[in-house]
């Protein structure tokens, strides 16, 4: 509207690259950002996996001495931090990025540049934490970093390891909050016409709940981490018992974040599974509204169970009893989901394609994790279980058997949409069975080890405890998992290059992403769809006969519709997509610099970081809306 009177200075011009490295660096396209999230998370998955293999090799036999106690403590801490904050969370974000707009019929997220900001902040946060390996060692206080171990002067070796933890998670938290604001607005505001809340795909629902949890949980850990940093850097006394501080405050703040965090990790996978099961059962999701409401219920109840991580803290019987009861009852909505998934499959026409296998694996393993979770709530016995491998078994069954299997299912399910080719089914099945066998061998024995009293976080153990056999089995299992991941990587590479060409709708899908070509054009939808039904695409393809069986509608389907509108788009009805920008990257870059400033105790470096950050944001606000050549 207002014409620009003065030419834009060179540094404010929007980048134009459409291909090559620079186009990825400056991209604001939600699909590309999703892919960046996915690949980055996968690289961290490999790193976290290697850490796990070292841990398992150390523990394969009694008195293992492959790594020192010092290195072991760094390994298990970074393994946990990596898998939670740098793998499962960003892998969820990858799916949010790529598929929220596609499933709600939007051309992009609400704030494309904010979206790119959250990716870069996440990447730099992860690199910042990993840079600690080069500068005196990685964090070694455990992923929940209990004070005062993590704030006291010489309770742990190394000067700054915990600073990398505290500041790194702080940076990652910024990425999460920014992303959650973006996705919440996208989902609430930008759905295609007609897609009322209760017509949204379940994946969108679970994404919405997850992002609300992120929005409200991340500021709490931000405060907890700031206190830790103030204690460590400026000798404040929040968690320092000698100065009157209370280390239990850290635990309350951490778990007040940490328990919602558990649902942040699992809900996206539950959403993915709720998408996959109906497609491969040829039946709608059973009890849609119950699945949605139980997801929301988990989101609410997740705030009232945090102290079950602290049963052995001495909070008193009243608190322990209250949290025991709330913990038991959060199992109810989880159970409702499982029953509805089973009912979705029952009476269906089940096709056991790889995505379906992983979804079934998810259900089977999550049942085990859920049941062991209920046994934790039996407080008098939790006094025995807590801090043993029994707990480690539980959270690997929900986070690996649950979240990761669900996410792998999602990768197989949506690969054809992302790359326009099918993944190899044979390799997919090999991956699945190897992973299931390896997983149960690696983590099943943890139940037994825990019940036989093996505590967590022991870098070694003596013989004669009855732990030898199970540790050895577990280590073998870990290597089978590693093998399965190699199969997956091979499949991914091979299928990307030579996989069978995928149609727009290879699985006979139900949701809007299958109405557009594979891979989707930059603008996703040539024409914004109008939604009339839940599983709208399915209802365009099938009517129901009198007995409730689907009968194909001859004119339904994606091809015609999208071809027509694609032609329209080609004609140059010019769909304006947001221009690329490098300012999100610059703004993000300022954050690790500030963090190094804290670590080096240098106001100068801190100020440089702040200036870089501010420069990024000012450029952001001032850069023109589009590349002027357009």
């Amino acid at each position: 509207m207002a014409t620009v009177t003065t030419p834009t200075p060179w540094f404010l011009r929007r980048p134009r690259a459409k291909n090559g490295l620079w186009s990825w660096v400056t991209t604001v396209d939600h699909k590309r950002i999703g892919i960046l999230y996915g690949y980055t998370a996968f690289v961290f998955f490999i790193l976290g996996g290697l850490e796990a293999l070292l841990i398992r090799m150390q523990l394969a036999t009694p008195d293992g001495d492959l790594v020192s106690a010092d290195l072991y403590n760094q390994l298990f801490t970074t393994h946990g931090v990596t898998m939670i904050f740098l793998v499962v969370m960003p892998m969820g974000a990858a799916f949010f990025n790529y598929f929220i707009p596609l499933q709600i019929g939007a051309r992009d997220v609400a704030f494309p540049r904010l979206n790119s900001l959250s990716y870069w902040v996440f990447l730099f946060g992860g690199l910042f934490i990993y840079s600690s390996w080069l500068f005196g060692g990685a964090p070694d206080g455990g992923w929940f970093g209990y004070a005062p171990l993590t704030v006291g002067g010489d309770f742990l070796p190394g000067d700054h390891r915990i600073d990398y933890y505290a500041l790194g998670l702080q940076i990652l938290g910024v990425a999460s909050i920014v992303a959650s604001v973006n996705f919440i607005v996208t989902i609430l505001n930008m759905r295609a016409p007609g897609m009322k809340l209760l017509k949204m795909p379940v994946f969108i629902w679970m994404s919405l709940v997850t992002n609300f949890l992120l929005l409200f949980a991340m500021p709490i850990i931000a405060v907890a981490l700031f206190f830790m940093t103030f204690d460590r850097t400026f000798d404040a006394l929040f968690y320092t018992p000698a100065g009157g501080g209370d280390p239990i405050l850290w635990q309350h703040l951490f778990w007040l974040f940490g328990h919602p965090e558990v649902y942040i990790l699992i809900l996206p996978a539950m959403g993915i599974v709720s998408e996959i099961l109906p497609v491969f059962s040829r039946k709608p999701l059973f009890g849609y509204s119950f699945v949605v409401f139980s997801g929301a219920a988990i989101g609410f109840m997740g705030w009232g169970v945090w102290a079950h991580h602290m049963f052995a803290d001495g909070l008193g019987p009243a608190a322990n009893a209250a949290f025991a009861v709330s913990t038991m009852f959060i199992a109810v909505p989880t159970g409702v989901k499982i029953f509805n998934w089973l009912a979705t499959m029952a009476g269906g026409s089940l096709r056991f394609k790889t995505p379906m296998l992983f979804s079934i694996g998810f259900i089977a393993m999550f049942i085990i994790g859920g049941l062991s979770g209920v046994t934790h709530a039996v407080v008098p016995h939790d006094y025995q279980q807590t801090d043993t491998y029994y707990v480690v078994a539980h959270f690997h069954y929900v986070l690996f058997g649950g979240a990761l299997l669900g996410l792998f299912g999602g990768l197989y399910y949506w690969f054809p949409k992302i790359y326009g080719r099918m993944m190899d089914e044979r390799l997919g099945r090999t991956h699945f069975w190897l992973m299931m066998i390896g997983f149960n061998m690696a983590f099943g024995p943890f139940h037994i080890l825990g019940l036989k009293g093996m505590p967590r976080r022991y870098y070694t153990y003596p013989s004669g405890m009855g732990w030898e056999l199970w540790n050895m089995i577990s280590t073998v299992g870990a290597f089978i998992i590693a093998l399965s991941v190699l199969v997956f990587m091979h499949n991914w590479r091979k299928s990307k290059k030579n996989g069978e060409i995928a149609s727009a709708d290879p699985w006979d899908g139900r949701t809007l992403e299958w109405t557009i070509p594979s891979p989707p054009p930059e603008y996703n939808f040539a024409e914004i769809p109008t939604v009339t039904e839940r599983d709208d695409f399915w209802h365009r393809k099938y009517k129901e006969d009198k007995r409730g069986r689907p009968i194909p509608v001859p004119t339904g389907g994606a091809e015609m519709h999208s071809e027509a509108s694609e032609a329209e788009a080609e004609e140059g009805h010019g769909i304006h997509m947001p221009s690329p920008s490098y300012f999100p990257l610059i703004a993000a870059l300022g954050m690790p610099i500030m963090a190094y400033g804290v670590i080096l105790n240098s106001w100068f470096i801190g100020a440089v970081g702040a200036i870089v950050c501010l420069a990024g944001f000012y450029g952001w606000v001032l850069e023109p809306a589009t590349d002027e050549s357009h």
């Binding site: 106690a69 010092d70 403590n73 206080g141 209990y146 005062p148 171990l149 006291g152 309770f155 070796p157 018992p241 209370d246 280390p247 039946k283 059973f286 009890g287 849609y288 052995a312 001495g314 322990n320 025991a324 038991m328 199992a331 109810v332 409702v336 029953f339 089973l342 009912a343 499959m345 029952a346 009476g347 269906g348 026409s349 089940l350 079934i360 089977a364 049942i367 209920v374 046994t375 039996v378 008098p380 016995h381 006094y383 025995q384 807590t386 801090d387 043993t388 037994i448 019940l451 036989k452 009293g453 505590p455 976080r457 870098y459 070694t460 405890m465 199970w470 007995r547 069986r549 689907p550």
Partner: protein, 346 residues
Amino acid sequence: MDRLRFRALTNSKYLRRVVALASMLVLSACISADGPANYLYPEGPRAIQSDRLWDITFAIAAVIFFVVEGALIFIILRYRANKANAQPKQLHGHTRLELLWTAIPALILTGIAFMTVPVIFDQAREPEGALKVQVIGHQWWWEYKYDNGVVTANELHVPINRPVLLELRSADVIHSYWIPKLAGKQDLVPGRINHLTIEATEPGEYYGQCAEYCGLSHANMRARVFAHEPADYERWVAEQRAPAAADNAAVAEGRELFLNGRFAGGQQCVSCHAVGGTAAAGVIGPNLTHFASRTGFAGEMFEMNEENLKAWLRDPPARKPGSKMPDLNLTEEQINDLSAYLLSLE
């Protein structure tokens, strides 16, 4: 071919065998009572009380496990795609069913809650007529202080059939005191005082360990509880209350070194350690008054014998990661003298 193999794998007979084998493995693992930390075979009344709750909960969980996983397997086998079911009935939900599978788990959990909550309160009650002992967690050893003045380390001696109320404190970071066969664990939080009751009914030795990650040698922070007949316990107390072994000419050199020697960096034994009846009154490290009466040392990492003790004195941090006792650069002769002295402290 692949399809066939895949079928074979999900074939019901095969699966049934796998399930049977797996459950047998799990059961046998649980049945075997090996291992001093196996709390499925509790020995103290507290641990037995907790274990009863477990037995019931586990049985319920096992039934649910077999029912739900069984349903899953049944559905997989029954509803595999075929020509007949290619266009299945589009069922969207069933409200009564939903209420049912909300209510049934809720009822089961209510039952478990009713069973659990009273025990939580019961275990928090202070027992009557208890023996009180202070337990202080240090990186990486346990200190015990009895009301009668006895101070010892790592090995707790208690009479049988009398509850022992442990008052838990920490000198540095959070630890967790855990004697699996006798009771669940309880954290030692600096700045707070927690309580834990243990009780043994049979004389004997009970294994213990630290359960809250506390730094480098978290894995090397073990404990032993010795339960005695009351008379034996009284005898032990009397021995411990006696001053350290009187002057013994054979270990005079070692005694001199211990009390007055200055080692690398001007360090002295007595700045950290105490020996009752001598001038040594350090409080940083374990009290050594009746050191040689113990069966292990350094957080029960090593059995008490001359060889281990000498190896320890040669370079403690090399033997125990992070050990707060530094390498004192002792000569072999000093090591011989010191270990002779320490082993005389019975």
